[in-house]
Subunit: 278 residues, 2 copies
Amino acid sequence: MTLLSRIQHTSQKLTAADRKVIEVLLGQQAEAVFLSAAQLAERAQVHETTATRLAQKLGFSGYPELRAQLQREVMEGQDAAARMRRSVSKVADGSYLADLVQSEISALEQLARSIDQRDVDTASDMIFAARRVFIFAQGHATAVSAFLQRRLDRFAMTTVMLTGRGRDIAERLTSLGQDDLVLVLAFRKQPTDYAAIMGHAAQVGARTLLISDLAGPTMTPPAEHLLAAPRGRSGTEFQTPIVPMTIVNAILLTIAGRHEPQIVTKLEELADLFDRFA
Amino acid sequence: MTLLSRIQHTSQKLTAADRKVIEVLLGQQAEAVFLSAAQLAERAQVHETTATRLAQKLGFSGYPELRAQLQREVMEGQDAAARMRRSVSKVADGSYLADLVQSEISALEQLARSIDQRDVDTASDMIFAARRVFIFAQGHATAVSAFLQRRLDRFAMTTVMLTGRGRDIAERLTSLGQDDLVLVLAFRKQPTDYAAIMGHAAQVGARTLLISDLAGPTMTPPAEHLLAAPRGRSGTEFQTPIVPMTIVNAILLTIAGRHEPQIVTKLEELADLFDRFA
DNA sequence: AGCATCATGCAGGATATCCTGCGAGTCAAC
DNA sequence: GTTGACTCGCAGGATATCCTGCATGATGCT
């Protein structure tokens, strides 16, 4: 039973003080969900007791239950995606494709909420300004890094892949200088060589950019700039590279958009090159 | 100071248990704002104490302060999300990220309409039944194929990558037999070697599967089974691998789901299962 | 192996939050 | 004016929530 219907159902027995409380409760829902009985009462200019008794009048065992109900309602109201997800999984059970699409969509919605365009701008500028871009990725992240590298090459940027282990990376890192950028793609947990690479970058004055998921903020040492968003299905381990892939695409689009003149001509030159080979 | 920046700033001092808590905190923000220290700790599978101490490490006087900070940020974030959703129509404000997310979402919705789960089932069975899977991909499709190969390897399947040009491919194709499957990832236009590969496969009796976009139906000779969906942003030069990537993920999920003792319907349960393979 | 350092869990106390018995005040009916 | 019904606030107890000292165990270094 919804809070509103409970209120209507009990409206005859409500006092003036009760109505004051309800006014705050419904009028400031977004904040009210966090308030204790005393805080709520203070906003409504009534005594704390009134809050407790109102909750009981409305059929709850006490104030905390009332608040929990309000929390549920507010969350559902705002999470339209959740509502959709429920109905879909109910209709199309056994359809992995439909389920997957649904969860990817909500992951993308979450992405838009997690990262601001300004952060993307910063990342784009860092890449565009770099003399060379060293891309570090391991495991599943290589799928994203391969894509990124191809695109940056198209933009006529110089990229260096850091894919192997220890030694291989160290060798390729020797030339790293202060005009270069180290771009790390890492998910789930901090890669073994992460600290060493970041440490070296800091030492030679290279800039650092980390694209990650929830593990991003915990990696140490921290990168100069971080783009991180949860990769779908909070709590579960099932995660696809869709979200980081989209982050990368947003960066690429931004580079293209903000530096259109240069990029476009590079692409045209490339088209000529292709023609000559074909 | 934002919670995220505090986490980054303190990342050196964070323990494994701390990270678990942070994962829940950020991954399930919407719900975490309501949880008590004990409830949060339970979700993160750590002791309540950890929550308290994490809050102090991050510079709060205690857990309640941390939660209050999270509440503030979530509330602001929701305002921001609402603002963004409202201004989605006018993309001119330079928010490439928001625009991109929006178009990816509609591309995914289109995908769910274009491909039926039964087609995914067929593809999954073909892959699972194959002795070896030969994966052919070129250009941007390699990003997807690399991902697919990694996953199939985790399923303990035998994969062979066909990536190079002409000669390289021919050499690796010599062993192709009738128990094998040729899986082609190709977008935009038919790759140069496509016809040769498909021809050879037909000759030796190998099965063929094509994952593609709008160009798929026009490729000749046709593959035995085709999974194709438009990749959004029709007409634009910039196309992302999100849709084919999601097709591949659906296939992988289906394989995992159909060949596991227990029949699982929920994606949550599948996630665990999938993780066991991954 | 031995030691130091640190992370983690436990137990108990401190605090915040909530509930309830009691009484003062208000109002209307008689 | 008295009574009764009701609202509201207070105070104290009950409970939930949180914090901290201590012990244990893990880890790493010498």
